[in-house]
Symmetry: C2
Subunit: 150 residues, 2 copies
């Protein structure tokens, strides 16, 4: 049916050009909404789901260097939001887990941040558009993580 492929390519290119700017600004704005640094909230959120993780596992999931995670975890420990225990089976590993205070902070932070986003979505998008965005969110996650097996 003619040349839908050309139009399609243009869409994808336009997407690849626009997406970086849009999400960078969105991240910037959400950072201001939170009362807790985004890096902290992200780590706490993972610990809540998984229970406990090593620094290396965290760094892989967050796509940062392991040295960076060390600093984040150190700051979280200083706040009393995580606990660190040495893995007795491999004493090189430190297992990071959510402390009670961390759980409280996480609950509060997540409510704030996702509430802000939900207000934006309610205000700026139609119901149909919200559904579309919800459908696209797992795709962004896949792009962020580099695929199901990465």
């Amino acid at each position: 049916m003619g040349t839908p492929k050309t139009e399609f390519r243009i869409d994808i290119e336009a997407c690849a050009k626009q997406l970086p700017t849009s999400i960078a600004i969105l991240v910037r704005r959400m950072r201001l909404e939170g009362d807790v640094p985004a890096s902290f909230a992200s780590v706490l959120g993972r610990l809540e789901i998984v229970g406990s993780m090593t620094a290396t596992e965290l760094s892989e999931l967050e796509h940062v260097r392991h040295q960076s995670i060390t600093q984040t975890v150190k700051a979280l420990e200083a706040k009393g939001w995580v606990q660190i225990t040495v893995n007795p089976d491999d004493r090189r590993q430190r297992l990071v887990s959510l402390a009670p205070a961390g759980r409280d902070i996480l609950t509060d932070q997540r409510r704030r941040r996702s509430e802000w986003l939900m207000v934006q979505m309610d205000t700026l998008l139609t119901e149909q558009e919200r559904t579309l965005l919800a459908a696209a969110t797992p795709l962004l996650e896949r792009l962020a993580m580099g695929g199901p097996a990465d």
Copy 2:
């Protein structure tokens, strides 16, 4: 028609919870792909489209404080990537515009960054999913900018 509303709400909530983490990681990874700081590239891109802008206009579009833009623009000027001229009609204003060297840098940077993203999209998404993401991108832009009239 039962309770589609409940399911819908769950989708939107899941979206609002997942989206911040995913796009934060995506921004992080794209920053590593670029050879130019993301804040620089973003400002250069706007100047290419609009021609010249004041610091205040830039700060509003980028959703940062005007003090922050001052520093970005100062760095861009030091690199020779933008030119700054005083607006003769209002001598408080400095008009920032793209210098030839800035245009070269921008072209190169944009090719790198959007190429990386396009490779990810080609590798990790189906054609249908790419179309879905392309459709959702303007919605993310709207959320980022706070609406058509903001």
